[in-house]
Symmetry: C2
Subunit: 353 residues, 2 copies
């Protein structure tokens, strides 16, 4: 079990905290960062110590719960003001993954309900903390169901290409895209993985390769620009990626480069699957054009291991995500089943299940 | 003028040599490597101290000339044997760029002719050295003509995407793809460049950005996986790349990732141009399937600046080139004019010009 994030309950001498595996230090160091305030959780999310839509969602929920749990407010009106600040702070960390807002909303909605009923503050604290922990458990449970649905779609043997890390490290465990691969292997399929490096943050190099090797899943790292070559060679049987936000029409925001891989898959007649828990689908986002794309620091491109690799003065662009239009997506794999085009219909139907 | 490579004639106290700008040290250091034997030239090519099809071609020609010039043979039969070894050594450095074999053949053919005529060895030396230097001059002259042809194809303003480095650093000067951009700017067009990083050797980051900034051409570096995103945004007006070998049917081998960019360009309706001197076209290669693809060391992928970035144990693939089928190519720009589909015909016709 990969310990992406973990709630640490308060003890006699210490408050509750959240322990994060520091993903910026992988694959070379397995070190942890302990967040003891909601502000520290915000920093952990912003600095990508934790990343991946599902992990961000649960981290944000835990962050709100931690903020409430650590509050010294003695009356509901004061706590109401604090909760607003806590939620705003966490919501301002990263714009693209809708799971962040979902996680915040889950805890805030419960809080609002309890506060409106004038629930005693200690009881509110107990209940929001319990909810955050339940979301953690549900994340893993949902991904195991999703994995089983997805495993049936993969071939009995062959190489699957993935981009970025939609693995245990991007969730509370198991993973979405990599969860499907794990489930396929657990079902006896002979699958090996090609992982794109995923510049500039190198999630493929640092995270996907690391966690798949831990599970003894055969993994080959390729540069992002090699995916087309190996598709042309007939080497890739399917592509499977995660998602940071899926619009109501199926358009999918995911790590920069996903759009290119989807076009390459289409050109080669290779199925392109998106694997994501249902809370990654945002009914309030009508289509991909409405998804905000985070622009991250130029330094992620200019520096590798703290060393500048670019000539000084060159312009840099660093969009962290792109949007893959629904037309390139063979199926969206969720814990509510496998959704297919027309996605507007299949998503709406699954939402009522 | 960027001093990619330069023949240094013999002096009173020192033999002839070839001076190479060490491209593995760019963009941070401008240092030089002096090759004083053909063996050292072979090492310089193999280690990519000099790289780029055109530069490799002239380097190989100069390498053969240097080997002959430095020979202590006093009779033609002895020199014949040495020349065979010299040519074989240089031919074994890198397999994909046909210019290497072209450059060797140019000097070897002249040598064979002079040797068959029992030309005195000092005269042979003089003539092969003069030929190698003439090939250097012709490379630049051809690229200026090529650039003028290509400039007419580019829009009056906008962003051009390039992959790898087909610039002055890939030739004796000016460049093929970047020569077209230089010529367009010299003609008053308002062009700026997006340069792909070009993993794993980072020619875009280290070389293209460096040489364009030297010429004050506005340049933005993007990761390889961002090209599709910017095409989707309408940001890219045209793509222009170089070539390492063009088959008789127009299929083009170029740096790994070129094939993916060509597919993305097609999907977005963006013109995709190949710029290469005519000696990059190999009539003996019927199509792309016949082009050998060099597989380079895993270390180029696993290490950045000498530091390992991958988890130990992951598989690595490192094909250095891919083949873009002719159907994705809008036009091939040469010093003999702009060739268009059907390329088998346009290439054959240009060959007789």
């Amino acid at each position: 079990m990969i310990p992406t994030l973990e709630w640490t309950p308060a003890g006699v001498n210490f408050p509750a905290s959240i322990r994060f595996l520091d993903q910026t230090k992988l694959p070379h160091e397995e070190t942890y960062v302990l967040a003891t305030t909601y502000d520290e959780v915000a920093t952990v999310i912003r600095d990508m110590i934790v990343r991946g839509a599902m992990a961000i969602g649960v981290s944000a929920a835990m962050g709100v719960a931690l903020g409430i749990d650590r509050s010294t407010a003695t009356d509901i009106p004061t706590l109401n003001k604090e909760v607003a600040v806590i939620c705003d702070t966490l919501a301002a960390t990263r714009p693209t993954a809708v799971n962040l807002f979902w996680g915040i909303a889950q805890v805030r909605d419960l809080y609002n309900q309890l506060a409106a009923a004038n629930t005693p503050i200690p009881e509110i604290k107990k209940q929001v903390v319990a909810l955050a922990q339940r979301l953690y458990d549900e994340d893993i449970a949902n991904l195991r169901i999703l994995g089983a649905y997805g495993a049936a779609l993969l071939p009995d043997s062959g190489t699957i290409l993935t981009h970025c890390n939609a693995g245990a490290l991007a969730a509370c465990g198991y993973g979405s895209a990599l969860g499907v691969i794990r489930a396929a292997i657990e079902a006896g399929k002979k699958i090996d993985v090609f992982a794109d490096e995923t510049r500039p943050f190198n999630q493929g190099t640092r995270l996907t390769a690391w966690e798949l090797l831990k599970d003894n899943i055969p993994t080959t790292l390729i540069c992002d620009n090699m995916a087309g070559y190996f598709m042309g060679q007939g080497r890739i049987k399917a592509v499977i990626v995660g998602a940071d936000r899926i619009a109501a029409n199926g358009d999918t925001a995911n790590k920069i480069g996903t759009y290119s891989v989807a076009i390459l898959a289409k050109e080669h007649g290779i199925p392109f699957y998106v694997a994501a828990p249902f809370n990654t689908i945002d009914p309030a986002t009508p289509n991909g054009a409405a998804i905000p794309i985070e622009q991250r620091s130029a330094r992620e491109v200019t520096h590798v291991n703290g060393v500048q690799v670019t000539p000084t003065g060159v312009g840099i662009q660093n969009p962290a995500f792109d949007v893959t239009p629904a037309k390139y997506i063979t199926a969206i794999i969720t814990e509510r089943g496998v959704l297919r085009a027309p996605f507007t219909d299949s998503i709406a139907k699954a939402a009522t299940n």
